[in-house]
Symmetry: C2
Subunit: 501 residues, 2 copies
């Protein structure tokens, strides 16, 4: 019996005594201090012990009984209730999902994935390096070397910030490009997209405004969408984003940050000129806003090198630079990096340690060794002319088979942005081309909300030249059919193109 039941009454506070008793007995039952089946003191004895009227205990016990926590049996006493479990019910997962998931519309991406997995389909939809052009031999060699030389250290945890020598190499590479950074400004991540998702976690509350290019990298759109940011698109021309408009939006929308790919942008291939870069930084500086510079393609130029990175022009530490080895070394490694000022990095490293601790250690060691031995430069020199030839093959095939499409020749990166004439819809073309065994990214999916529905993103890095030509022939055949049958399918195409609202 719970004769030792300890109840402390405080007569000075406003809470009625019976409620104080109810609350404390409930807490003991919930905490397991009183077990199911255990007998409680009689109303009379508890009233006596606490120095209260018996009715006070009657009220308290009545409330506990109404809650199902205790049961009274006349003549036997009052007991902590045995809880009978109701029948098992399945989890209804759809009722449990967080609100933020509602912002993701995956209809188009599901359609793309379905078509891409069909045998014989040529995909110009990925923005990855060509598998046959990966530096497999040299990477395998350095991986073996680091494992042979350093053994278990290569399998141990790295710090959350990442492997020291790799951070050093990245800092030096940026220093050579004119940036004022040290290894302490570098965090190794599992790809640059993780950098953006961590920045969102560290900087964005739901509803925070963010400026992005329109169009912009679709993975970036999805990261920011899942973070429940409110996205404002800055229009672009062939010279990159329109900085005058950016300047206005900075004043009107007071964004938390600007997200930009200024060099060989995905999807448009456009590069922001030196003057606009200075103007962008001045505008961001006037608004005290940070700039996230996402630069996966900067080293992949096919003519003159691009203008200096924003990070190299940044004198106030407002540029957060995202880089990656996914395009220049191998996408399967998942090694990217973020370079930024100390106060940001402190929080970012904390969030990173909570999200997934650190990046794969062997890949960090091997990437550092690959760079240190000069294999990265060697590899870049080897692949630039090859990617350039692929770009030219695609451009030539477009001129020949699909002359109605307009494009600016991208001077680097992996993508070509094709604009069809007024009245065309890229999604119509996508579905007809997919039937003919060729897929691409519908441009509209790269806009924060709506956008030019006549554009296609065509990747030229991942397929050999003859396959690119075949892909364009299939695309052109689809275009001819669409021209013949016109816009009959339009009514059913209105909903599925916007992955991020």
């Amino acid at each position: 019996m719970a004769e030792g039941l300890q109840i402390n009454l405080d007569r000075r506070q406003g809470e009625p005594l019976y409620q104080q008793i109810t609350r404390q007995v409930r807490a003991k039952i919930v905490a397991g201090d009183l077990s199911p089946g255990q007998r409680l003191p009689t109303e009379r004895s508890l009233a006596q012990k606490l120095g209260v009227h018996r009715n006070t205990i009657v009220s308290a016990y009545a409330e506990l009984e109404a809650d199902g926590l205790i049961t009274s049996h006349v003549g036997r006493g009052t007991f902590v209730a045995q809880r009978e479990l109701p029948a098992e019910r399945p989890v209804v997962w759809s009722e449990l999902f967080a609100q933020r998931l509602r912002r993701l519309d995956e209809a188009y991406f599901r359609e793309l994935a379905r078509h891409s997995s069909r045998p014989g389909v040529i995909s110009l939809a990925g923005a990855t390096p060509a598998p046959e052009l990966l530096p497999t031999k040299h990477f395998t060699q350095v991986l073996q070397e680091v494992l042979r030389r350093h053994g278990q250290a290569v399998l141990e945890p790295s710090t959350r910030e990442g492997h020291g020598p790799l951070r050093e190499w990245i800092a030096q590479d940026l220093q050579c490009r004119g940036a004022v950074v040290g290894a302490e400004n570098v965090v190794i991540l599992s790809g640059n997209q993780q950098g953006l998702s961590l920045l969102a976690q560290v900087l964005l509350d739901p509803g925070d405004p963010v400026l992005v290019e329109a169009p912009t990298y679709l993975g970036g759109l999805r990261v920011l969408g899942l973070a429940e940011a409110v996205l404002w698109g800055v229009p672009m021309d062939s010279g990159g984003l329109l900085v005058d408009v950016l300047q206005e939006l900075l004043l009107r929308r007071r964004p938390k940050l600007i997200y930009t790919q200024p060099t060989f942008q995905n999807p448009t291939g456009a590069t922001l000129g030196r003057e606009r870069r200075e103007h962008l930084l001045a505008a961001a500086g006037a608004a005290a806003v940070p700039v996230v510079e996402d630069d996966p393609y900067g080293a992949l130029y096919y003519g003159a090198p691009p203008p200096p990175a924003l990070k190299a022009l940044d004198r106030s530490g407002r540029v957060v630079y995202l880089g990656t080895f996914s395009k220049v070394l191998a996408p399967g490694l998942r090694i990217g990096y973020l370079v930024g000022p100390e106060p940001l990095l402190h929080q970012l490293v904390l969030a990173r340690g909570i999200q997934d601790l650190h990046s794969n250690t062997p890949a960090q060691w091997a990437a550092a060794e690959f760079c240190a031995q000069g294999y990265l430069d060697e590899h870049l020199e080897a692949v630039r002319p090859l990617y350039r030839r692929r770009r030219d093959a695609l451009a030539e095939a477009l001129h020949k088979y699909l002359p109605e499409g307009q494009f600016a020749l991208p001077e680097g990166g992996f993508n070509l942005w094709l604009e069809m004439p007024e009245g065309w819809r890229a999604l119509d073309l996508f579905r007809l081309a997919a039937e003919r065994g060729m897929v691409f990214v519908v441009g509209e999916s790269c806009y924060p909300s709506g956008g030019n529905e006549r554009c296609l993103r065509l990747n030229f890095s991942a397929q050999p030249e003859e396959v690119l030509v075949e892909a364009v022939k299939r695309l052109a055949a689809a275009a001819r059919e669409l021209a013949r049958h016109g816009r009959s399918k339009e009514t059913q195409l209105n909903t599925a193109t916007r992955p991020i609202v």
Copy 2:
């Protein structure tokens, strides 16, 4: 001049005409359709063109001028304003950080990190495998084999779900342990902690209640804290969590999920018995709540194998199982996994693809090969007796040098939970022990809010036996000093122990 200025007035809607004009001109300026310096139509000509009174245009232009968007020069006309940029201002990062970061109190962890990095300090604070016991030779061998045999495929992206053969092996391993799962239920992650952070992203809105053991895994606490969950601790005894209390909390708090480590729990080492497992599942079933079973240590038993995993007893698909290769193979690989029902996996894989795409491909291939060739079983058989000896060495040293500490011998895993007598504070002991060159995890940091301040988590896996003995000697010396000088330091110790409020 902007003679072609297109303004569409709608006289049927309530908005005043001058406001319609203001709004549309502003939009054109912001969008860049009207450029700085461009001349606007005169008030008279625009009034005429739009068929409105001249005063309407005067009002519209006055508002635009007040906004700084246009300027009038008497006799010359009205122009889109040249925007002068204010002086550059630095980013004040501390003002930009998201609200969710305020929930993290890192004071104790910073103190731990500072002490741990000092030379000569013995750390019993990590819960990692011993570096010298990692299967470096066999892992290096299989990594070389997969790279030699499969070349570039090992450097390409994997699917977001992960490498097929590894998913197959994990499903078969769980099938052998009695679970009804297939490879399609498995997602490969970068560690099991990423699994919990993705579950939080997919299932938890800020403020959602979650039940956790008290104490529980401190990394899990931080993941759930950053997700802004409201955590309710379920008390434990030496047989694991008290399922009666869990059952009450399920009714009272209506949690979104239950997070538990039922086997060789971190930090307590406690294992939930078979009967309590059934009871837990029945209670969760009655409440239609999912159970997240985090099982990093299940294969690391030092006596009889533990009871079946919750996942093996789960007949309704409510258990989400988190596993990892970090404790049984190598922590540097960052390869873990989540096993769950299809509707959850669909959303989780989507979120994973947005967060960081997929896990390191070479590590996935090598882990699959390591398991397939039987090296994992071989390795486990080799290390179990070694970890057992380390556990016994720690226990013996504690009995000998620190007999006032109470503990239950953990039957598996990497940690021992030591409780000091009434009146002791583990944080006092931590600071004195750190001065003597020995650190551990203060137990209080493992509670969702407050908790037993007399407990220490001591790791026994990462140090050789003689080092464990030396560590206990230093701890015992600190305890003797604390006993001599009593509780004089108490006043300054109140703030720093709770990483998650």
